[in-house]
């Protein structure tokens, strides 16, 4: 097994208002995508992936136990899907930043997921850099007084 060739992810966005540490929880049934998200997002100091799940089942408890402050949430998953998992997660953690990351078109799902408690909706054709910037944005917004 070879060591991953990391290309540094750069971005000009200032994150002065972001929390000192971004503790990310990734919920997506595609294990390969979780690994790529971890690889890309943890390349930055101050960001750590504190938990992963492949289903929305037990998600609220897992996120709270991990002490995450940002969640990346897929919608189509086995067991409990993202639309089912979102309301109890938001109810249990009002200060949590939640980004839905889904293959469904924005026009079809964004308003619905925002109404259920998500902070942002990203389509899966977003680049990892867009995901990274969005994670910082929502973390900063949720931290702001």
């Amino acid at each position: 097994m070879h060591a991953p060739r990391r290309r540094p992810i750069t971005g000009a966005m200032a994150c002065a208002a972001a929390p000192a540490e971004i503790r990310l929880f990734v919920c997506d049934d595609a294990v390969e995508l979780r690994a790529l998200l971890r690889l890309a997002l943890e390349s930055e100091e101050g960001v750590s992936v504190v938990g992963e799940a492949g289903s929305g089942e037990g998600l609220t408890e897992a996120v709270l136990a991990a002490g995450a402050n940002v969640v990346l949430l897929d919608l189509s998953m086995p067991g409990v899907d993202g639309l089912e998992a979102l309301p109890p997660l938001r109810a249990a953690a009002p200060g949590l930043a939640i980004v839905v990351l889904s293959g469904y078109e924005r026009e079809r799902m964004e308003a619905r997921t925002l109404a259920l408690g998500a902070d942002r909706y990203l389509e899966k054709h977003a680049s990892l850099e867009q995901v990274r910037l969005t994670v910082h944005q929502v973390a900063a917004e949720r931290t702001a007084p």
């Binding site: 991953p4 060739r5 990391r6 290309r7 992810i9 595609a30 390969e32 995508l33 790529l36 998200l37 690889l39 890309a40 189509s76 293959g103 899966k124 054709h125 680049s127 990892l128 850099e129």
Partner: protein, 63 residues
């Protein structure tokens, strides 16, 4: 979720893997994911077309 919808979701997942793997420089993983996406797309094409008769394969536009 219907099997067909699930297959489309799988296709999106694989294509997402291609683009993200390329973004972090994992070219071998991107190539594997691209082949998997191609195989899935072919399955969807076969499932949706049945046994084509002459003329059924005319496209409206060139691909």
């Amino acid at each position: 979720m219907t099997p067909r919808l699930e297959a489309h979701d799988d296709l999106v997942q694989r294509l997402t893997e291609v683009t993200w793997a390329l973004e972090v420089g994992e070219h071998a993983q991107a190539a594997r994911a691209a082949r998997a996406a191609l195989a899935l797309a072919q399955q969807l094409l076969a499932a949706g077309s049945g046994e084509p008769a002459p003329g059924d394969l005319r496209r409206d536009d060139a691909g």
